[in-house]
Every structure is written in structure tokens, then in C-alpha cells.
């Protein structure tokens, strides 16, 4: 090879460099995904009792199950409400922190803390803070009995979950959005101000359009995140209750697979959920991603 080239031309060295990582990825990512789809066409016996090809029977069984549709619907509701709040609140905070005020430095520090608190830990904390008998709303409950009862009222339990989810989602979204805001050239803001655009106008006409790439990214990641990371919160705060009101798909799959030993059913639901997540991401890129101008 000539020294003009910008690449090494070794043949086997790159294979050797990628191989260990690729092996892990194939074994613990692609094989499980393949197996989920494979199992959705077989009836698996628990404890290795062999399997039987059943065609689309698993899908028919899952799709005719009312609990599956309810869990799916709840997943959608959670996804839309929790992730839009988990982007909107950091966005408002980032716009505020972007102004050069005294509080913006401590805020930038504190708002990253939740990154160090596990979903399950904050779940344990929120289970306590929103406990109807000893929690923060207990005095309210004494005045108006039954107004806050996450153990009975599904909506109350749902609200607790969303509050905890937004709490732990703040660091990533805040940091990304703030970085986007800060990369906007100051001159652009000044030019807009000289043209008579007030602060509000500038937020909507200069800042928001210019951080569309960041906004898009946080939204895409947040959608997947809300589908999956809800597990730790559900398992610590509500256990899927009351009466299944907070049983999202990811929790139902876990229950069906590990407590109900319905491996085929769980694998089928996993396959459906994976297809849904992939389609959702693809759709976001197709409809939203294309309209975003990445040029500055």
C-alpha cells in the first residue's frame, strides 16, 4: 500500500479486532431476537420439555387475549404521556438554564443527579413518598378520605409511575437539549433581537427550530426508553396493580414468562413488542427525521 492511503489494508487484523465484540452481540442480541421470533411459532414446554410447531396459533392466542390488548393500550398511553412530559419538562428547564442567570450553574449540576439513582431505587423512594398512609399526600387523605389511593385507584398509580419516570429521565434529555441550545450562535439571537423579536418569539422562531435535531433524538430515544424502563418502576411501585391498571406489556411479558412459565406466549408478545418498537423508530425517522434540517 502507498503512504497516500488513509486506511490500513490488513485483512485479518480488523476481523480479529471486531470478532470478540461481534461474538457477544450475536450471542446475546441477535440469537435472543431470532429465538423470540422462532418460539412464537412453536409451543415451548417449560423446563426443556421439547417444542412443537404450531404455526400462527401463538399469535391467535395472544391477539385474542383481552389482557394483551389492555396491556398494549396502557403501554401506548404511558408512552405518549410519560415521554412527552419527559421531553417537555427538560426542554422548559433547558431554555431557562440557557439564560445566563445565577441559578443556571447549580441547576445544571443538580439536574444530572438522577442519572446516578437507579430506576428501581427511585421506585422504592416514590413508593414511599406517595404512600397513601405515611407519604406526602397522607395529610390530604386525612382531610378528604380516599382522594389519593394508588393502591385502589389505577389513575393514581399511573400518575405515580409517570412522575417517577419523568424524574429519572431529566438528566439525559436536559443535557442533550441544553447542549443544543448552547450551540446556537449568539449572533443569531442578537440578530433576531435587533429585528425586534422578543424573547418569546425567539424561543419559538429561533431556538426551537434550531434544536430540532436534539429534540427529535430525545423523543425517539424516550419512546423506546419509556416502553422498557417502566419495568423497574412498576416492579417496585405498583407491581402492575391495582387490578392490572399499571400492567404494561414489558411487565406482562416478564410475569407470563417467569411466573406463568408461558414461554411461547411471552416470546410471541416479545416479538410483537419488538416489531412495534422497530416500526415506531422507523416511522419517526420517516416522518419526522426527514423534515429536520441538520444544517446550521
Amino acid at each position: 500500500m502507498t503512504s497516500e492511503s488513509t486506511l490500513f489494508s490488513n485483512r485479518w487484523l480488523p476481523v480479529l479486532l471486531v470478532a470478540p465484540f461481534m461474538l457477544l452481540i450475536i450471542l446475546f442480541f441477535y440469537v435472543p431476537i431470532f429465538q423470540a421470533f422462532y418460539w412464537s411459532f412453536f409451543l415451548e414446554q417449560p423446563f426443556g420439555g421439547g417444542s412443537m410447531f404450531v404455526g400462527l396459533d401463538n399469535f391467535a392466542r395472544v391477539l385474542s387475549d383481552r389482557e394483551f390488548w389492555q396491556a398494549g393500550g396502557r403501554t401506548l398511553v404511558f408512552m405518549v404521556t410519560a415521554s412527552s412530559l419527559a421531553v417537555l419538562i427538560p426542554l422548559i428547564l433547558a431554555v431557562a438554564a440557557d439564560r445566563k442567570i445565577r441559578l443556571s450553574l447549580p441547576a445544571r449540576n443538580v439536574l444530572v443527579w438522577p442519572k446516578g439513582v437507579a430506576g428501581a431505587s427511585i421506585g422504592v423512594v416514590f413508593a414511599f413518598v406517595f404512600n397513601p398512609f405515611v407519604g406526602i399526600l397522607a395529610p390530604l387523605n386525612k382531610a378528604f378520605p380516599g382522594i389519593w389511593a394508588p393502591g385502589i385507584d389505577g389513575t393514581d398509580a399511573f400518575i405515580t409511575l409517570i412522575a417517577a419516570h419523568v424524574w429519572s429521565g431529566i438528566p439525559f434529555n436536559f443535557v442533550i437539549l441544553l447542549a443544543g441550545l448552547q450551540s446556537i450562535p449568539r449572533t443569531m439571537q442578537q440578530a433576531a433581537a435587533m429585528d425586534g423579536a422578543g424573547p418569546w418569539r425567539r424561543i419559538f422562531d429561533v431556538q426551537l427550530p434550531l434544536i430540532m435535531p436534539q429534540l427529535f433524538l430525545t423523543l425517539v430515544l424516550e419512546f423506546t426508553e419509556s416502553v422498557t424502563s417502566a419495568f423497574a418502576l412498576i416492579d417496585t411501585i405498583t407491581h402492575g396493580g391495582p387490578g392490572g391498571a399499571t400492567t404494561l406489556l414489558v411487565y406482562k411479558i416478564y410475569k407470563d414468562g417467569f411466573s406463568g412459565y408461558d414461554l411461547s406466549g411471552a416470546a410471541t408478545q416479545t416479538a410483537i413488542l419488538m416489531v412495534f418498537v422497530i416500526l415506531l423508530t422507523a416511522a419517526q425517522f420517516a416522518f419526522l427525521g426527514r423534515r429536520i434540517n441538520y444544517e446550521r
Binding site: V31, V117, F128, V134, V175, T224, F231
Partner: protein
């Protein structure tokens, strides 16, 4: 400052105050309750001010629960996850960016796809694979008919079995299979000037030398950022450590903490002790954030670009 907008600055301050209150409020209540006694909780409910029982509650976490040993597990898992991710991501990104290989695009796409479906979604079948990591080999032998031949020649088909469940390796491996690190290093390598490479070549540096003497020192900040990011993610994992460990002594601290909550509603749980547990379990990652915040923020920003 573009214009002197006092009212706007006040509004922004109020918003930031509210945001900080939202983050710190639950943490403060946790700390305050962790320093009260169970009797205090039963009498007054949630504690608005700290008491003097914290060390008492913390001592009970250390003597009555498995959390001390689980903290060691968490430390081992988070640390080896971060190290493994850093090394493997660096090597694979190096191969993808600096070698003339036709499959670079495919390899990168295969690695990047892992970001889309986290382990929480594929937990059921990942568990099955972890219960026998040779199951794909067995299936391959069976499908290709090789096993039939082997059975004829040696009298019995090959059936390999190795479970990594309830081992540290099993706790870590599926979490390593994640593409963020490769993405991060690739983006970083692409920002480096091409002349760097040419100069190194002219001086006669081969691929190994180029990697150790030039790329590695330049990537120090990326390594730090990725290390902090993966360490925190390893420490805070929940679902995978929950299913991959079957004995309390193999569980991670976060799982152990969640197990302290009673399953059924009934009498009021011993929240002061549990909150003391929450404080102890979150101490290591929070300290890390306090000390290495610069790298964490950098990692978060880098991982999106």
C-alpha cells in the same frame, strides 16, 4: 445577555428552582426519613426534618440484609461492564474506521442496531441463551445435519451445555452487547485529522503502533466519558440482574434494595430502614456524578452526535 429582561430572568429562575425542587425533594425526604425511627414514622408519617437514627438504620442494613455483599456485586458488575465496554468498543470502532474493509458498513449497522432493542425487551430469550450459551451451537449442529454424522461416528450426538446464569459473567455479558460505545468512538475518530494518519504511516507506524501510540492517548477523554456512562448504567440495571441471579448473594444492590419492599400491602413497611438502604445504594453512583460530572455530561452529549 441580549436585552435586559428582568421579568424573564425571574421567570427562568422560578422554573429552575421548581426543577431543582422536583429532583431534590424526593432525595431530601429519603434522607430525612432514613434518619428517623420506625416509631416516628408510624406516629408522624413522612419526616420533614432529619432525626438522629440514620446510623442505627444504616447499621441494620449492614447487619440484617444482604446489601453489603450485593454492593460488592454491583461494584464488580459496573466496573467490569465499563472496562469491557470501553475496550471492545474501542477495538471495533478502530477496525471500522481505520481499515479498508468492505464489511465495515455492515458491521457498524449490526452493532448500532443493538441500541434500538434494550435487554429489557428481549429478556425472556436472553435468559434462555444465558442458561445455555452453547444452545446456538447445538442448534447449528442439528440443523446442518452434522450431529447426525457425529452420532453415527461416535455413538452419541453432541450436546454442549454451559449456563452463565448466576455468574458475574452472565450478569455482565448481555449488557456489554450494546453499541453506544462503538458509536461514540467512531464519531470521535472521524473528527481526527486525516494527516495524523498519513504522518504516522510516513514514520513507519503499523496498525498496532498507531493504535497504542497515537489513537489511545488521544482518546483519553472519550474513554473517561464512556467509562462513567457505562459504570452508572451497570450500577442502575434492574431487570437483567433480577432474572440472571437466583441467589441473594449474586444479586446486585439495586435488586436487593427493591426486595426490601414487602410484596403485599398490609402494615406500613419499615420505611426508615428501606430509605437508609436507598441512600447507601445510591451513594456510589451519586459520588461518581459529583466527582466526574464533566465526563458524564460529555458522554451524554457525545453519545447522541
Amino acid at each position: 445577555m441580549i436585552e435586559n429582561a428582568r421579568s424573564l430572568n425571574i421567570a427562568a429562575s422560578v422554573i429552575l428552582l421548581a426543577g431543582m425542587l422536583y429532583i431534590l425533594g424526593p432525595l431530601y425526604l429519603t434522607l430525612a426519613t432514613a434518619s428517623q425511627s420506625y416509631e416516628f414514622l408510624l406516629r408522624n408519617g413522612l419526616a420533614w426534618y432529619p432525626g438522629d437514627q440514620f446510623f442505627n438504620n444504616a447499621a441494620r442494613i449492614f447487619t440484617e440484609t444482604r446489601i453489603p455483599i450485593q454492593m460488592l456485586n454491583s461494584l464488580a458488575v459496573a466496573f467490569s461492564l465499563a472496562i469491557a465496554t470501553c475496550i471492545l468498543s474501542f477495538l471495533s470502532a478502530y477496525a471500522i474506521v481505520y481499515f479498508r474493509i468492505r464489511w465495515a458498513g455492515v458491521a457498524f449497522a449490526l452493532i448500532l442496531a443493538t441500541i434500538m432493542l434494550p435487554v429489557d425487551i428481549r429478556v425472556i430469550t436472553t435468559y434462555q441463551v444465558a442458561s445455555n450459551v452453547f444452545s446456538p451451537v447445538n442448534a447449528l449442529l442439528y440443523v446442518t445435519g452434522l450431529n447426525g454424522l457425529i452420532a453415527k461416528a461416535f455413538g452419541a450426538p453432541v450436546q454442549l451445555e454451559l449456563s452463565v446464569l448466576n455468574t458475574h459473567f452472565g450478569l455482565i455479558a448481555p449488557l456489554v452487547a450494546h453499541g453506544t460505545g462503538t458509536f461514540l468512538f467512531r464519531q470521535f475518530f472521524l473528527t481526527l485529522p486525516k494527516d495524523l494518519f498519513k504522518a504516522a504511516r510516513m514514520d513507519g507506524a503499523g496498525p498496532v503502533r498507531f493504535m497504542f501510540d497515537i489513537l489511545l492517548p488521544l482518546s483519553r477523554t472519550s474513554f473517561a466519558a464512556l467509562f462513567v456512562l457505562t459504570f452508572l448504567s451497570g450500577w442502575t440495571q434492574y431487570l437483567w440482574p433480577l432474572v440472571a441471579s437466583s441467589t441473594p448473594d449474586m444479586q446486585t444492590a439495586v435488586v436487593g434494595l427493591a426486595r426490601l419492599l414487602p410484596d403485599s400491602d398490609g402494615e406500613v413497611p419499615d420505611f426508615p430502614m428501606i430509605m437508609a438502604g436507598a441512600v447507601i445504594v445510591s451513594l456510589v453512583p451519586l459520588l461518581m456524578i459529583a466527582l466526574l460530572q464533566r465526563y458524564l455530561v460529555q458522554g451524554l452529549v457525545l453519545s447522541e452526535k
